[in-house]
């Protein structure tokens, strides 16, 4: 027994002593089954591709996000496009141009933009270090990442003015970075779109038109130049896409917003299956529940009246309903509230815009005939007669603004940005938004961002 005890004691003591001597392995655990360490994420084409697919998936995953309502509806409320029929304070703040830095949609826009920027920066850095990804895939993904980064900064700068320009993942430095002058941000936007244009190919990486290609980068570059007043460059870039045989204006206006329509340059795929039958979140919100029911978003009368008589876009892209003896209109570009299988995707960049970009750029360069020709292409598709041949520069610029207004309404804030960049916002909006001032044209920096970064300053007119 005595002998046994000693043996037993020896065993137990050794058992206890194990952790004293390098049993360090026990707490060194493998990575979790649902995550991929960064080295592995950029080890081959397939996973690298997935890192970029993730951005688009998140952009459009839920309602009221960057890839849908946040980018299209909020600026439309602020301009004279459409409004929410009921009163809720966070929508009303946009509608009344009385934004507060606490507005949750504002915050969401800021935060999601910067999270996509981080995502894009992480992809860029991952690709730079990667050895396993093929050259072709590297170019494609690098191009997409730069495109996405440029795209986010384009909207940030045009909404908030000066914003922190963050071009890497060094979060410890980036978290306290002050605002960068808007002009410098726009330079970076041009650089990103130019790089993307070089890196991306004419073909889509996907079978569908749901990831940016060279044409998407070129269009964004053209638009950026237009915003910057670089007329020649804007026209040049726009021409490149206009001459691309992949894209056409569709004769049937009702088919424009279908998925992979020939007018689509970049669409966001409907990814979310959690609300049954959602095609686009825009359609889900705008199209009434029942065909005869009321809609929740009504066009301002100003927009309704802006359509020339006989404009096919009014007949096909708006719809009316009657309530309380009054007729209201709502945007009807997307026609599906819910339906399976999915027929519509969210349109982000569309071919028609390029004619309008070029028309404006050409007008500014006094190439009035060519400009008018571009506008007529758009007008003809809308079943309108050609513009009069004797229009002067100002008249053609007005015609550009008019066509942009009725062609691009309810899409990605075109109207809001056009009013601002042409300096007409306060004057045009005053009749329906008596309180509007020039300060309201730049959104306030969200409170949450100000709080967490003492280096940020607030825009004028907000506190």
């Amino acid at each position: 027994m005595q002998h046994n005890n000693k043996y037993f004691a020896f065993l137990l003591i050794s058992f206890i002593a194990i952790p004293f001597f390098g049993c360090k392995k026990y707490v060194e655990i493998p990575p979790p089954e649902n995550q991929l360490v960064t080295e592995n994420a950029f080890s081959d084409d397939r996973t690298a591709d997935a890192t970029m697919a993730g951005v688009y998936s998140i952009m459009n995953a839920y309602n009221y996000q960057f890839g849908n309502v946040l980018s299209s509806f909020m600026p439309a409320f602020g301009a004279d496009e459409f409004y929410y029929a009921f009163s809720t304070s966070s929508f009303d703040e946009f509608k009344n141009n009385s934004l507060t830095p606490d507005n949750s949609y504002l915050r969401s826009f800021w935060e999601s933009s910067y999270s996509f920027i981080y995502h894009a920066n992480a992809v860029i850095e991952g690709l730079q270090k990667s050895t396993g990804v093929s050259e072709a895939m590297k170019n494609q993904l690098m191009g997409e990442a730069k495109f996405v980064r440029g795209f986010c900064y384009f909207y940030l700068a045009n909404r908030f003015g000066d914003v922190p320009l963050i071009l890497n993942t060094d979060y410890k430095v980036n978290t306290s970075m002050p605002r960068t002058e808007k002009a410098k941000v726009m330079d970076a936007v041009v650089a990103d779109f130019s790089d993307a244009q070089t890196l991306l190919s004419d073909n889509y990486i996907s079978t569908e038109r749901i990831r940016p290609n060279k044409a998407a980068a070129t269009t964004m570059l053209a638009r950026t130049y237009l915003f910057l007043g670089k007329w020649n460059e804007a026209a040049t870039e726009a021409t490149k896409v206009i001459n691309n045989p992949k894209y056409h204006l569709l004769d049937n206006l009702n088919n424009v917003f279908l998925k992979n329509s020939e007018e689509a340059i970049w669409q966001l795929q409907s990814v979310n299956k959690s609300t049954a039958g959602v095609n686009t979140w825009e359609g889900f919100n705008l199209v009434p529940f029942s065909p005869t029911g009321r809609a929740y978003y009504n066009l301002y009368n100003e927009l309704v009246n802006a359509f020339e008589p006989g404009d096919a876009r009014f007949a096909n892209w708006t719809k009316s309903y009657v309530t309380g003896g009054k007729t209201y209109y709502f945007p009807y570009k997307y026609k599906i509230r819910t339906a399976t299988p999915v027929q519509e995707y969210t349109m982000v960049i569309r071919f028609a815009e390029l004619y309008l970009i070029r028309a404006e750029a050409l007008t500014q360069q006094n190439k009035l005939d060519e400009a008018r020709a571009d506008l007529d292409v758009i007008r003809e598709r809308a079943e309108l007669s050609d513009l009069a041949v004797d229009l002067n520069k100002d008249q053609i610029l007005a015609a550009v603004a008019q066509e942009r207004r009725v062609e691009l309404f309810a899409e990605w804030g075109h109207r809001w940005f056009d009013l601002i960049r042409t300096g007409k916002a306060v004057e045009v909006l005053k009749p329906i938004k008596p309180d509007i001032t020039v300060n309201d044209l730049v959104y306030p920096i969200p409170r949450s961002a100000m709080r967490t970064n003492p280096a940020l300053t607030q825009n004028e007119g907000y506190n």
Binding site: I16, N34, A53, S57, S115, Y118, H119, I210, V271, A276
Partner: protein
């Protein structure tokens, strides 16, 4: 060897310095040690008295009885004697010095005999070997009992079989046997070589067993701070959750419910909050096995995040011990920083089989209601808003004024949460045992219905089996316990309490009987159709095997396994939607599980060494937790009847899918040395390694030293009323690793939905592998006093805990792409405070007993330092010198009589009200003081137990936070708003009604008022928390062989005294589990169901 080679920097110079000081103090104590016996104290100052007088005095002081022949004392003469704090034996020696008598002590009796001359010789000459067994009253051997020879330093302790041997002792020596939790006993050897000593359980509270980490001690000798609650207290409360049974009962322990719904969670805080941004949950240990504190919910139903402990049946619990200071918690090393809660389940007792039953049933109601405006008052307020805004009311902006019946009245509060719930609970069990084996088996069932609109029963049931077996020679012992419990929680998707402020004239139904909706608005009655159901399954198994290698050395191992699962289903049928917004039915499915095992081999060494008793513990621990969860969403059902069937969904979306492995490994040890039962020193150490840290940061060292000086044992100590006095101090370090798993990993995770056929990835976090253990240094000094034979016990302690190297989700500005990353923050947080515990036996005579206990805690939380705070992302959220849970806001200065607009202090006088710049500290969320007062009175068969809980604190009022609408918007307000500004020149404190977003009054309310001290205030309360009346019918039922038959009435949360302007001062809108002042408003939740008032009647008996 690398295990010790690396210094983690945790045992800092300061720690060593403090240890040095403690060592010096202890050394000073040791110098006082004399060869004093273990007897009871006697103080005599007598001059020229008869011996009988002296003996009477001793009897008075000690309770010893004397037997003597009176003739023996007749000629003994008179004596003078002076003794201060002497032992009985010493006193007797002196008294009998010249009398020719000698004495023997047997139990509590002293027998005087005449010396014949023989004895002297024997005493002087004979030395014998004595062996024996020490057992409790049931015959169970007591291992580790001290057996000492009076007047010598000769002592030993018993082995696992209760056996001891003392060699070479005087055959007439007196042995003094002591064991924690038992009365000490003296035994005359009287030439016996084999003794059987039966110890009596101590009724003195000081000697009751206290469970500590990996061992036990008693209140008397404990060097640390431990508060305990036993089964008697738990049984008095008809509660579902063992945690709620602790509310108000334990000093230093603040427990707040998150909702009155069954199964909902609690915020449990031991001595405040140490960690600025990470978990502050204590470590839970059930029968030696760590239990999770995080909820398993994959999504929330109306009862929020369910508390995993809620499935445990309170009545299966024998006792709960709360470990608070460094001395008590350092043995748990890196997880001890926030205190440790040890739960011990019941075990079988030796004796015949006993079958017991206990059932109760009762009703529940919310404990408090708000006074809302009635329809005329409400409509008046609305009209005023439109009038003052100069806006016309229309059917779209004011359906309540233009569309709805002006005379309708619905008391939404009453309709939605004013119901009466039922509760029924029953349990049946059998227990028994023999010398070698004992067992307990009990089963329980409980059902509650809700006070909320819609029928939502909560049921739970479970079984507990405990077995204890020893080998015949008692060298080998195994214990095992298994708990299996499950609950079935039928709930709804959202807590309807948030809708109690709907307009009182809003219609509920259309004329055709269908639910009424205004526009896209809500009708809470439709939510009753959003069924939520959760099922939790908890399996806990643990076993301990112990083997006595030698009489001093035991080897033992704990094994534990837990498997906790939760299934959730939420269905959203068409009937639960506003038809205008209905977009198809859907359902949500959640499954989660946590499996863990723990293996803990240990060595225990027990021996009398030098002048004291030495206990040494060494052990190791391996622990693994695997947690997994899935959250699925199904949509596109062909029928709402199929919503619970995921395979009937045409589309299934994975909302989240998680997996985490957590491994943990330690070595630990403790040395306890008890010298002469006067000086106790206790040192503990733990070295931990955790997989939650990146390579190079995984190891951490923790340790503590505690010391106690029982000064009432000193010779020089002489205050008759003071029966017990102890000073104790402890200092040490503990840690915290509640940061989640894999935070050091640079990785990508699923982006959610596949895009273009590619399953997308997104960065899981920003990459920072360089973070290590959070360190919490705890100091405590306390005094424990007992008066009048320990009938009155007072314990008062001061603690000071400083937490540094804070592990935080370091706030990043969102522009960096993420909102936080895990890192060590150089900030230092101090939690200090005073805790007082008083327990008193006021009356104790046969039929009538009255006991009172009182506890109070006065905690103070302070941010001591935060280098770089000014330029950090936390600049607006924290202030050095303030509580880490401070709340900032505007200072409301009144209402402008000219405009009715609220006005605030413009701190920087720039003419604008600006967040941060114009903020002042308006309060803090942690309580200022809290405690409880309990009285137990029993007279004959009737026992009455009354418990009051009190909390002094501040909280958000009804109008606080981002979810609050203006006065005058389309929501109801309480009658507190009456007297609102209604026209030019009015002097009032209540801003004017407004409902138009462009109005200044509207903006000032939304941007300033609801974040100001006008909406923040006192939420202190005194609550009659528990009343239990029971009547023992045993005598009446004896004829039916029923024992312990008791009929009882119990009430919970019966009356609340408070001035709080809100629903329930306890659940006051802050979800304290998640309060981080990163954005002080972000943590304010919509109103939750108040805690319930419960009244039950029950019966228990056994056969």
């Amino acid at each position: 060897m690398q295990f010790f080679a690396k210094s983690s920097g945790i045992l800092t110079a300061q720690f060593f310095k403090s240890m040095k000081i403690l060592a010096i103090i202890l050394l000073a104590f040791c110098m006082q040690v004399s060869a004093e016996s273990f007897g009871q104290k006697v103080n005599l100052d007598l001059k020229n008295v008869e011996i009988q007088t002296a003996l009477k005095e001793i009897r008075k002081q000690t309770g010893y009885l004397f037997f003597y022949k009176s003739e023996d004392l007749k000629n003994a003469g008179r004596i003078s004697i002076q003794i201060r704090n002497g032992g009985v034996e010493d006193a007797m020696d002196k008294i009998l010095a010249h009398t020719g008598l000698y004495f023997e002590i047997i139990d509590k009796t002293i027998i005087l005999k005449k010396t014949t001359g023989k004895e002297v010789g024997l005493i002087k000459n004979m030395a014998i070997d004595v062996s024996g067994t020490v057992t409790d009253q049931s015959g169970k051997p007591l291992a580790g009992a001290t057996v000492a020879v009076r007047g010598t330093s000769h002592a030993t302790s018993t082995d696992a079989q209760g056996n001891f041997t003392l060699n070479n002792i005087n055959e007439n020596a007196t042995l003094l046997i002591s064991f924690v939790g038992y009365h000490s006993k003296t035994v005359q050897v009287q030439n016996q070589s084999r003794l059987t000593i039966v110890m009596e359980l101590a009724i003195n509270q000081l000697d009751e067993t206290v469970i500590i980490g990996y061992g036990t001690t008693s209140k008397r000798y404990n060097t640390g701070s431990v508060s305990s609650i036993t089964n008697e207290v738990i049984e008095n409360q008809p509660v579902n959750d063992p945690i709620s049974a602790l509310q108000g009962r334990v000093s230093g322990l603040m427990i707040t419910s998150s909702s009155g719904m069954a199964g909902s969670g609690y915020s449990v805080r031991v001595r405040g909050e140490n960690s600025i941004k990470q978990g502050n949950d204590p470590l839970y240990i059930i029968d030696g096995v760590p239990f999770i504190s995080e909820s398993l919910n994959t999504f929330e139903g109306a009862n929020g995040l369910q508390n995993p402990l809620s499935t445990i049946n309170p009545n299966d619990i024998e006792r709960i011990d709360v470990l608070k200071d460094a001395d008590a918690t350092a043995i748990y090393g890196s997880r001890g920083a926030n205190g440790v809660i040890l739960i011990t389940t019941k075990s079988g007792k030796k004796g015949g089989s006993k079958v017991s039953f206990n059932v109760y049933t009762g009703v529940t109601k919310i404990n408090r209601k708000l006074n809302f405006l009635n329809t005329p008052q409400y409509l008046q307020m609305r009209e005023a808003a439109f009038r003052l805004d100069s806006v016309a009311a229309t059917e779209t902006n004011a359906p309540d004024l233009k569309l709805w019946n002006q005379n309708d009245y619905t008391d939404w509060q009453d309709l939605l949460i004013g119901g009466t719930g039922n509760v029924f609970a029953g349990q049946a069990g059998v227990s028994g045992g023999t010398d070698q084996t004992s067992f307990i088996l009990s089963t329980n069932y409980r059902k509650e219905t809700s006070v909320m609109y819609g029928n939502m029963p909560y049921q739970k049931g479970g079984a507990h089996l405990g077995i204890n077996h020893s080998s015949k020679n008692k060298k080998f012992n195994v214990t095992g316990s298994v708990i299996y419990s499950m609950d079935d929680n039928e709930n709804i998707a959202t807590d309807l309490t948030m809708y109690i402020n709907l307009p009182p004239n809003m219609p509920k139904y259309n004329d055709d009987g269908s639910l009424y909706f205004f526009g896209t608005g809500e009708n809470p009655l439709s939510y009753a159709n959003r069924k939520y159901k959760s099922n939790s399954y908890t399996f806990l198994g643990n076993g301990t095997a112990r083997y006595s290698l030698t009489k001093d050395l035991d080897v033992k191992a704990n094994f534990g396994f837990t498997d906790i699962r939760m299934d959730q289903i939420l269905t959203l049928p068409e009937s639960s939607f506003n038809p205008q917004t209905y977009a198809g039915s859907s359902s949500q499915f959640g499954n989660s599980s946590v499996r863990s095992y723990v293996v803990e081999p240990q060595l225990e060494f027990n021996r009398i060494v030098g002048p004291g008793k030495l206990q040494v513990l060494a052990g190791a621990s391996w622990q693994q937790n695997t947690s997994e969860s899935k959250y699925l969403l199904g949509s596109g059902y062909s029928s709402d009847a199929l919503l619970k069937d995921i395979s009937s969904a045409t589309s299934i979306t994975v909302r989240s899918s998680n997996y985490a492995l957590y491994r943990y490994q330690s070595v630990f040890g403790r040395v306890n040395y008890n010298i002469q039962r006067k000086y106790v020193i206790n040192g503990s150490f733990r070295r931990d390694a955790s997989s939650r840290f990146g390579p190079g940061n995984q190891f951490g060292n923790f340790g503590a030293v505690g010391a106690a000086w029982i000064f009432s044992q000193e010779n020089f100590f002489n205050i008759p009323a003071l029966s017990f006095g102890k000073i104790r101090m402890s200092y040490g370090t503990t840690g915290n690793d509640q940061i989640g798993d894999y935070q050091y990993l640079d990785s990508w995770a699923s982006a959610g939905f596949p895009y273009g056929g590619v399953s997308g990835l997104a960065p899981a976090r920003v990459y920072n592998p360089d973070y290590g253990w959070e360190v919490n240094k705890k100091f405590e000094a306390a005094i424990d006093l007992g008066f009048m034979d320990d009938k009155l016990l007072i314990s008062a302690g001061y603690y000071n805990n400083r937490s540094s190297n804070q592990l935080v989700g370091y706030t990043l500005s969102s522009q960096s792409g993420f909102t936080e990353y895990t890192a060590n923050l150089p900030a230092k947080v101090q939690n200090s405070g005073v805790e007082i515990d008083i327990s008193s036996t006021n009356v104790n005579n046969g039929n009538f007993q009255w006991n009172t206990s009182f506890n109070m805690s006065i905690p103070k939380n302070k941010l001591l330092s935060y280098p770089g705070l000014e330029s950090s992302s936390d600049a607006a959220s924290y202030e050095v010198g303030q509580s880490i849970r401070m709340i900032k806001g505007y200072h409301f200065t009144g209402v402008d009589p000219a405009t009715g607009n609220p006005m605030f202090l413009d701190v920087n006088k720039d003419g604008f009200y600006t967040e941060d710049d114009d903020y002042i500290v308006i309060g803090q969320t942690m309580p200022k003081f809290f405690g409880g007062l309990s009285n137990t009175i029993s007279y004959k068969n009737l026992t009455l137990d009354i418990f009051f809980q009190f909390v002094k604190q501040e909280a958000p009022l009804l109008d606080y936070g981002p979810l609050v609408g203006t006065i005058g918007s389309r929501i109801n307000k309480t009658t507190d708003v009456l007297g609102y500004w209604n026209g030019y020149g009015e002097q009032t404190e209540i801003p004017r009604p407004t409902t138009t977003t462009t109005e200044d009054a509207y903006k000032l309310f939304r941007n300033q008022y609801r974040y100001s001290d006008a909406a923040w205030g006192d939420a202190s309360y005194i609550r009659l928390k528990n009343v239990a009346i029971s009547y023992d019918l045993s005598k009446l039922t004896q004829a039916w062989k029923m024992q312990g038959t008791t009929i009882y009435v119990q009430g919970e949360n019966l009356v609340t005294f408070t001035k709080y302007k809100g629903l329930d001062p306890e659940i006051n809108g802050f979800d304290r589990r998640f309060v981080y002042p990163i954005n002080p408003f972000g943590s304010v939740k919509s109103p939750k169901l108040p805690v319930l008032r419960t009244l039950t009647i029950g019966l228990k008996f056994s056969l």
